[in-house]
């Protein structure tokens, strides 16, 4: 529900789930590291708007005995997990350090699990979910944890058939088998652009009225794939991209950030601030909390947003305590999009059209109506 203290039997208490598909995620405040030690934050946090009542609640709020910040996010698909944990390179260019290794598994931590990278592995994520969402008590049943992870690791998900385009592996390589069979963590680019699964459809011809419509949809999907990797525009003021040496602005395309083959995730730890949660770029959301974060005087300000930032979700900053990380959200996989509107971590894009419009507006892409439709058609079959 919006908050455990609300009357649970009332529909209004679950409004964010029902209207936006959002789940409450409660983060400790101040943040803590993996050992539970407090991380001294670089900013202070005030609750400006609290429509769910949880952030100012006596038991669950920021001033309670166990202070928490409640944010509301879309759940992420628990599938195609080998891509979620893939470490294609051992260096994180966003933070300027090699990837750490998990002490439990010995594997490189790629930082791509959960919207705020708060857990390093699927095992840790499972324990976190059991405790917070399932509300299990005590220490997690490790046998159950292993079973859950093994189950997730066996799932591969992608759209198999589209009403207009037909079977997505008919002359192209859509569908979940590609995800199962291909290597995880590959960087797209050059002769292997992302979504090249659909390139065989670029010049497909059709015969007959029905086949012409199907052929045109297939060509549109393939054009969408080309636009995704080749259409250039200026990306600016986006932490996690512009601040790591590329400059602001930088000319690039969708695949600059959505660069992992077969999923559209980021091969690097993918925490980026597009502006989906931070003012001034975020869409107004009066039903979501609003926080005022103020960078402390002796701390570096946010390079693009300054010292005072209004946000619906501090994102990665709730994990690191850093001003530079306010509003950063982990880039998620793009598979199964047609089945899981609304989009972005806060559900602010109700449809794929809204999602494309956000990017078009945010980065002044000047997409034509056909380009927008081609991108929508591509994303609608992933």
């Amino acid at each position: 529900s919006n908050c455990p203290t609300l009357p649970q039997a009332e529909e209004q208490s679950h409004s964010l789930l029902l209207n936006r598909g959002l789940i409450r995620v409660a983060r400790p405040w101040p943040p803590r590291d993996s050992t539970g030690k407090i991380i001294e934050p670089q900013f202070t946090i005030e609750v400006v708007r609290d429509p769910t009542t949880c952030n100012l609640d006596k038991t669950y709020g920021i001033h309670s005995k166990t202070p928490m910040v409640s944010v509301y996010r879309r759940p992420r698909p628990a599938t195609n997990t080998k891509y979620l944990t893939a470490a294609g390179f051992n260096f994180d260019p966003k933070n300027g350090f090699p990837l750490p290794r998990d002490s439990e598994t010995g594997e490189l931590i790629n930082g791509n699990i959960t919207a705020d990278a708060r857990v390093p592995t699927l095992f840790a994520q499972t324990r976190d979910a059991m405790r917070s969402h399932l509300q299990t008590q005590g220490i997690a049943d490790e046998a159950a944890v292993k079973d859950i992870v093994k189950f997730m690791e066996g799932l591969y998900t992608a759209q198999q058939v589209d009403q207009a385009a037909g079977a997505l592996n008919d002359g192209a390589n859509g569908g979940p088998a590609t995800l199962r069979d291909m290597r995880e963590g590959d960087l797209q680019g050059g002769p292997t652009p992302i979504w090249m699964e659909y390139y065989p459809w670029l010049n497909i011809k059709g015969g007959g009225i029905d086949n012409n419509a199907q052929a045109e949809r297939r060509r549109s999907i393939a054009r969408g794939a080309e636009i995704f990797s080749k259409r250039m525009f200026l990306i600016d003021d986006s932490m996690g991209i512009n601040n790591m040496g590329f400059g602001s602005p930088v000319r690039n395309g969708c695949a600059f950030c959505h660069n992992m083959q077969h999923t559209g995730m980021d091969v690097a730890p993918g925490q980026v601030d597009l502006g989906t949660t931070n003012s001034p770029h975020a869409d107004p959301a009066p039903d979501l909390p609003l926080f005022k974060l103020t960078c402390k005087p002796d701390m570096p300000p946010h390079p693009f947003l300054g010292r005072v930032i209004y946000t619906q979700d501090p994102g990665y900053a709730l994990t690191t305590g850093k001003c530079a990380d306010i509003g950063k959200i982990t880039i998620q996989q793009m598979r199964g999009l047609a089945a899981r509107a609304p989009y972005f971590s806060n559900g602010s894009a109700k449809t794929l059209r809204d999602l494309v419009d956000f990017y078009d507006r945010r980065y002044h892409m000047n997409l034509s109506p056909q380009e927008k439709q081609d991108l929508i058609n591509l994303m609608g079959v992933l």
Partner: protein, 257 residues
């Protein structure tokens, strides 16, 4: 081979010593050229001479609306951006706001981006260890002014080379020495100096990184200095810029020195 490389670097640096170097503070200008991804141009006008320089080759690109400290060597690269090209060049972003100026291409093409030939390879590609003989060898990581950020497509490449050399040579010690420009330097009438604290934080950043890459803590010896000697590098434009660095000194096992 190593002596040959040093000779080449010396020749290049000697040439640079005669070449014109510039150091100034200015507000960057972005020219919106389009030769594909990452092809935009960064320009910087020297306030003293009003000469427009092309600083697009800087490893850390500017942020529009923030002043930069430019340190560069005038090169004979083609004029693809509408400014005198500087290469090598560093642009350090300063905490000073200025007007954000973007100009159109105006017929300039910019430069097509090319991935560095020594860019890091994916994790699943096997690494080749360098062959013997192994001698005490230094690797340098360079930083921008007042920064301890390990720059992408530079720091990880250098650290991997150091790591592989340490592994191949069974290094008995890996020294990590941090430096900073603690004596003031002047550019465009402004004084710049760095704190000794920065020398330490640079060294610690590299220490943490090398440890994560697999060098055991017991092998690592970390220190930092308020001053140091300049080093030669084809990617560094001035002696001062070379002082913003960490030197990784790999000392092979005794039997291999």
């Amino acid at each position: 081979m190593r002596l040959f490389k040093l000779l080449i670097v010396s020749i290049v640096l000697s040439a640079n010593a005669w070449a014109e170097t510039v150091t100034f503070v200015t507000c960057p200008i972005y020219r919106d050229t389009d030769s594909g991804r990452k092809s935009g141009c960064w320009l910087a006008d020297d306030p003293a001479t009003q000469i427009r320089y092309d600083v697009s080759a800087a490893p850390m690109k500017p942020l529009l609306g923030k002043k930069i400290l430019v340190e560069g060597v005038v090169s004979d690269d083609s004029n693809a951006c509408g400014g005198t090209p500087l290469r090598p060049v560093r642009t350090s972003i300063l905490d000073q706001a200025c007007e954000a100026v973007m100009i159109p291409a105006e017929g300039f093409a910019g430069r097509r981006f090319a991935v560095p030939s020594d860019a890091q390879r994916p994790t699943w590609e096997a690494r080749q260890l360098p062959p013997p003989p192994y001698i005490t060898t230094e690797f340098h990581i360079f930083f921008n002014h007042d920064s301890d950020f390990l720059v992408y497509q530079h720091a990880e490449i250098v650290m991997e080379k150091a790591l592989l050399y340490a592994k191949a040579s069974h290094a008995r010690e890996v020294q990590v020495i941090g430096y900073a420009v603690t004596k003031p330097v002047t550019a465009s009438g402004e004084r710049f100096k760095e704190s000794i604290v920065l020398a330490r934080s640079r060294a610690e950043a590299v220490r943490l990184s090398l440890n994560r890459l697999g060098i055991e803590p017991a092998q690592l010896k970390v220190s930092w200095k308020a001053s140091g000697q300049p080093v030669e590098s084809p990617m560094i434009p001035t002696a001062t810029a070379s002082l913003r660095r960490v030197t990784i000194r790999v000392i092979p096992a005794a039997s291999q020195r």
